[in-house]
């Protein structure tokens, strides 16, 4: 599939992968939500009927997004960003509460979730800021400003409360890093995560011994290579690590709520519970595991038919795929997702403008982050976080949000071809 297909010069690989995911997603939503006899695909009473409508409408959306000029997105990025922040803030006044989170606007029969669109807006804003001629990402001041652009929508989303959607903003660390964010940030984030999980798994004493050993190793390594040891930095990082370890239990036991503790304990294998808090994950694993090599066949999944996995058409849609399409189907889906993310990355690196590159990188990161957290949760290696699987999970806002996110990039990318 070349870059030239007729007169429209767009990346058909991305379009193909997008189509595969949305179409395959709908088949599985149909299976997961089918109850009794179906009354035609366009039955608006049924979830699969609605989703089909969202898919058709997203084609309209795609045409609209592609019709606008590339310059439009760059020029109006700040405006879009501010508008999006306002729409998030407006939720506190006009929002509708669904499942305990005030994350929706109500328009007649439909609801819209602005946080799904805020990701695209933030990516645009970030691209515009970093792409600005006056911004130098090597400077700490500019790095902080970039972080602020990302943090503001996340901080507004957290108290909705929708921590899952807020967590996604962590994905922006990748484009920032790509653009020259001090590696210290990434190391710090990774060490924090390692210290946190490590302390939960092997306990405070184990961690203290471990840190001491690492420090000693570093010490002898430097000695051996006749490097100088920067003592203040050496001591401070050691103390910092130790201090954190002592904090972990406090944070875990006092700051976290019980449900968060439960989710961690489950994934770390510290508690086994298949009935209450672990029910979802256990049933999801059963559904996937019973698929074996080739699955039970479309519409034949007993776990799916019997509604054993809650929220199967939304966050747990991957369990339907595992049950009905088996190992082969699941792995193919993983490969399709990876291909999409890698393709976007590949195209992002080829953007001429920094704006386009940052935006493309953000799109890849967001899609990948969703995929990693969602599938990781469904197959039981990541704590339960309620975020959808892009393009596959049921939901109009989610589908449109990702479609807009993706196709703004497709549009930018096509402008790139023209100017070659």
């Amino acid at each position: 599939m070349g870059y030239r297909a007729g007169k429209v010069k767009i990346d058909w690989w991305i379009i193909l992968l997008y189509g595969l995911l949305v179409g395959f997603g709908w088949l599985n939503i149909y299976s997961a939500s089918l109850s009794g006899q179906g009354n035609g695909f366009f039955n608006m009473e049924q979830i699969y009927g609605k989703q089909l409508l969202w898919i058709v409408l997203s084609i309209v959306l795609i045409i609209f997004v592609l019709a606008l000029d590339t310059k439009f997105y760059e020029r109006f990025a700040s405006l879009i960003y501010i508008g999006s922040l306002l729409s998030l803030l407006g939720l506190f006044v006009f929002g509708e509460t669904i499942n305990g989170a005030t994350s929706w606007y109500h328009f007649g029969p439909a609801s819209l979730q602005p946080s799904e669109f805020a990701k695209a807006a933030t990516a645009l804003a970030l691209g515009k800021y970093i792409g600005d001629i006056q911004t130098n990402m090597r400077e700490l001041k500019h790095q902080w400003r970039a972080l602020l652009i990302i943090a503001i929508p996340a901080l507004i989303i957290i108290p909705q409360p929708d921590p899952g959607s807020a967590l996604v903003y962590a994905a922006f660390i990748f484009p920032l890093y790509r653009e020259g964010l001090n590696y210290l940030f990434l190391t710090l984030a990774l060490s924090l995560a390692a210290l946190f999980v490590g302390t939960l798994v092997i306990g405070t004493q184990g961690m203290i011994i471990g840190i001491a050993m690492l420090l000693l190793l570093y010490f002898f390594w430097q000695k051996k290579n006749r490097h100088r040891i920067i003592w203040p930095r050496y001591i401070i990082s050691g103390l910092f690590a130790l201090g954190l370890v002592f904090c972990v239990h406090y944070i875990f036991n006092s700051v976290f709520e019980q449900r968060h503790r439960d989710r961690f304990n489950l994934v770390l294998g510290k508690t086994v519970d298949n009935n209450s808090i672990g029910y979802n994950t256990h049933q999801s694993e059963i559904a996937i595991g019973s698929g074996r090599w080739f699955g039970k066949g479309w519409l034949q999944g007993t776990q799916t038919k019997g509604n054993f996995v809650p929220e199967q058409h939304t966050d747990y849609i991957f369990s339907t795929i595992g049950e009905e399409w088996g190992f082969v189907g699941s792995v193919l889906l993983v490969i399709v997702f990876m291909s999409l993310v890698l393709r976007i990355l590949f195209r992002a690196e080829r953007q001429k403008s920094v704006f386009g590159r940052v935006y493309g990188y953000s799109v890849a990161s967001i899609i990948f982050f969703h995929f990693m957290v969602n599938v990781g949760m469904v197959i039981g290696i990541f704590p339960t976080v309620g975020i959808p699987l892009p393009f596959l999970s049921y939901g109009g806002s989610g589908l449109w949000g990702f479609t807009v996110l993706l196709f703004i990039f497709v549009k930018m990318d096509s402008a790139n071809y023209i100017n070659r």
């Binding site: 790509r178 049933q283 090599w293 190992f327 490969i335 990876m338």
Partner: protein, 624 residues
């Protein structure tokens, strides 16, 4: 590095996910089972068990409906225990116990609270049970016995145990299975095929329709009826003759091997092991270790055969050509074989030929024949093996291959047996060491079933069909092939005539010549037996009154029935066993009894005081 980080992470996460999927879907095989347990409910539809008929088409075993009150513990709501127990007609303690058991077994699966209600009890209950969620009634089919005898033949059904379920996964907890008698032997024929329905459930355990449109469902198939070779009337008569006696009667049709009667005494009413009182009654029968009603004496009891065995000694002697029908052997009241005490014999005329030897049951005669048989060979080992080979051709010393689940092999000792016993070659042994085998008193052990079997072989003049109890299976035209194969013995048919003549003369002037034992107008051949036996009382070997043993067949030239009767501690052969054999033969062949006084004597006769003797704790006299 900045360009490649995300690329590497994406690849890494993808590989981790594929690995995890491989673990879940391919490596770990449990999930498929878990998913089936979750989502598929299996409902069984139990068919009626097949009926059982006797050889004349008389219905012996049918079915009756019965109702179990079932509970699914997690569906129950708090209830007024006292009121509910009144409704079920059980004690609250019992009810709580049953509920506890049900909860322990599974809160989600059904368990029985009260089993096997009658139709009357069910009628009152069914109207009110809907007030108690979680409880429901399941219909079952139980056995309904049309006869009050033959419990040892018919056997019984009971709930399958864990072991059986492990061996035969087609059975489920709480299902019934034949555990004894023909119920066990013909379980697969009688039980039919249970219907199976697979039902798709949802997460609330509600039915949401047939699984895969019912393509795996199986319809129930009623069990097949079977017809036995048993003559129910003869069987009933035999059991009445054995009242207050212990032992057994087995009768065969020699020309086919069909089992006409299989009486074990004491017996019990088969209906005792049906219904709510089943376990109480079973415990009572099971723990009666003195009378042992559950022990099938005719199939499982191994006894020294006693004098009837002399007919076999004679046949082997003739075949080995160590004796002929003309030679006379003298008896001096005992047979001296060099042992500490000579083998005793009783008063009779001497010298004796083969026929009169059998008629008078002379110990000396048969000891001589036996000794010549063994000594014909260079070593006693060879001789014993040869002797044993002949007996094995009769089917003795092994399971007879009949279609009943109980039985024992008996014992026909081989050379190895004596080698081990006498520590050969450290010590040598010779024929006299085994001389008691000649008269059925040595190491030889036979079950009453094996006794009647060799009687049939003699009646047939040297061939037999394996004994069997199946006459017809519904829908089938033939019985199992193994029962239609003719087996021949190693004895030439011509040698049987003199032995049969001897058995006829038993009735004319021999050990059963008393006028009330024979039957007018029917030529019977028989042989008495009086078997010594011992019991351990407080560690001491104490001799008890002899067992009364008798074998017979009739009529002599066209045998229709062969019979073995065994009465524990009945003293001499013709005293009880001989009389019972005569009555059974007359009943079977003519349908009437001519000698009512003799019949009354047997019917009313009791050996109970004989059986109590060893348990009195006092010294006692035997053979009175």
């Amino acid at each position: 590095m900045r360009k490649n980080l995300l690329f590497l992470i994406v690849i890494g996460v993808g590989l981790i996910f594929i690995g995890r999927l491989f673990y879940l879907q391919i490596y770990e095989s449990n999930y498929a089972t878990l998913s089936d347990n979750n989502a598929i409910k299996v409902v069984y539809d139990y068919p009626q068990r097949g009926y059982v008929y006797d050889r004349n088409g008389l219905l012996m075993v049918a079915n009756q409906p019965s109702y179990d009150v079932m509970v699914i513990p997690k569906d129950t709501k708090p209830l007024d225990t006292l009121e509910f127990c009144q409704l079920l007609n059980i004690e609250p303690i019992e009810f709580n116990k049953a509920m506890g058991r049900a909860r322990r077994y599974s809160p989600r699966l059904p368990s029985v609270v009260v089993g096997q209600l009658t139709k009357g009890e069910f009628a009152g209950l069914s109207e009110k049970l809907h007030k108690y969620p979680g409880f429901y009634i399941q219909k079952r089919s139980l056995r309904d016995y049309q006869v009050d005898h033959s419990a040892n033949v018919l056997g019984y059904i009971s709930e399958v145990n864990d072991y059986t379920i492990k061996e035969n996964p087609e059975y489920e907890m709480g299902e019934l299975i034949g555990t004894a008698g023909i119920e066990k032997q013909y379980e697969e024929v009688l039980r039919g095929t249970k219907g199976t329905k697979y039902i798709q459930k949802d997460n609330y355990n509600r039915d949401i329709g047939p699984y895969k449109d019912g393509q795996f469902d199986v319809l129930p198939q009623r069990g097949q009826d079977i017809t036995l070779t048993i003559d129910a009337a003869l069987q009933a008569y035999g059991e009445s003759l054995m009242v207050n006696k212990r032992g057994g009667i087995v009768a065969l049709e020699p020309q086919t091997g069909e089992i006409l009667s299989l009486v074990a005494a004491p017996n019990y009413d088969p209906a005792l092991l049906v219904g709510r009182q089943r376990s109480k009654n079973f415990t009572k029968l099971y723990y009666d270790t003195i009378a042992k009603p559950l022990f099938d004496r005719v199939l499982q009891g191994e006894y020294p055969p006693g004098s009837p065995f002399k007919t076999l000694t004679a046949l082997i002697g003739l075949e080995e050509e160590v004796i002929n029908t003309k030679e006379h052997i003298s008896c001096y009241g005992s047979y001296n074989y060099g042992g500490a005490k000579p083998m005793g014999c009783h008063e009779h005329k001497t010298p004796l030929s083969m026929t009169s030897g059998i008629a008078y049951s002379c110990n000396s005669y048969f000891a001589t024949v036996y000794r010549r048989t063994i000594d014909k060979y260079e070593t006693p080992q060879e001789g014993i093996e040869r002797w044993r080979q002949h007996l094995r051709s009769f089917g003795l010393g092994d399971y007879l291959g009949y279609d009943l689940p109980a039985g024992n092999k008996g014992l026909i000792p081989d050379a190895e047996f004596y080698n081990r016993y006498y520590q050969y070659p450290k010590y040598k042994w010779y024929t006299p060491a085994t001389i008691s085998n000649a008269i059925g008193q040595g190491e030889v052990l036979l079950t009453p079933m094996q006794m009647v079997h060799f009687t049939s072989v003699i009646a047939n003049r040297g061939h037999f069909y394996k004994p069997h109890i199946i006459k017809k299976i519904e829908g089938g035209t033939t019985i199992p092939e193994q029962y239609t194969i003719r087996h021949n013995t190693t004895i030439d048919p011509k040698h049987f005539e003199p032995v049969i003549q001897g058995m006829a003369e038993v009735y004319q002037y021999g050990t059963a010549a008393s006028p009330d034992i024979g039957i007018k107008g029917i030529e019977i051949c028989g042989k008495t037996g009086t078997a010594e036996n011992y019991m351990r009382i407080d560690g001491e070997r104490v001799q008890l009154t002899d067992h009364s043993v008798f074998i017979a067949f009739a009529p002599k030239d066209d045998p229709k029935i062969s019979i073995a009767v065994f009465v524990e501690n009945g003293y001499w052969g013709s005293r009880w066993a001989g009389r019972i054999a005569g009555l059974m033969i007359e009943q079977y062949l003519t349908g009437t009894i001519t000698r009512k006084d003799m019949e009354a004597y047997v019917l009313n006769g009791s050996l109970m005081n004989e059986y109590e003797k060893p348990y009195t704790g006092q010294p006692f006299k035997i053979n009175q």
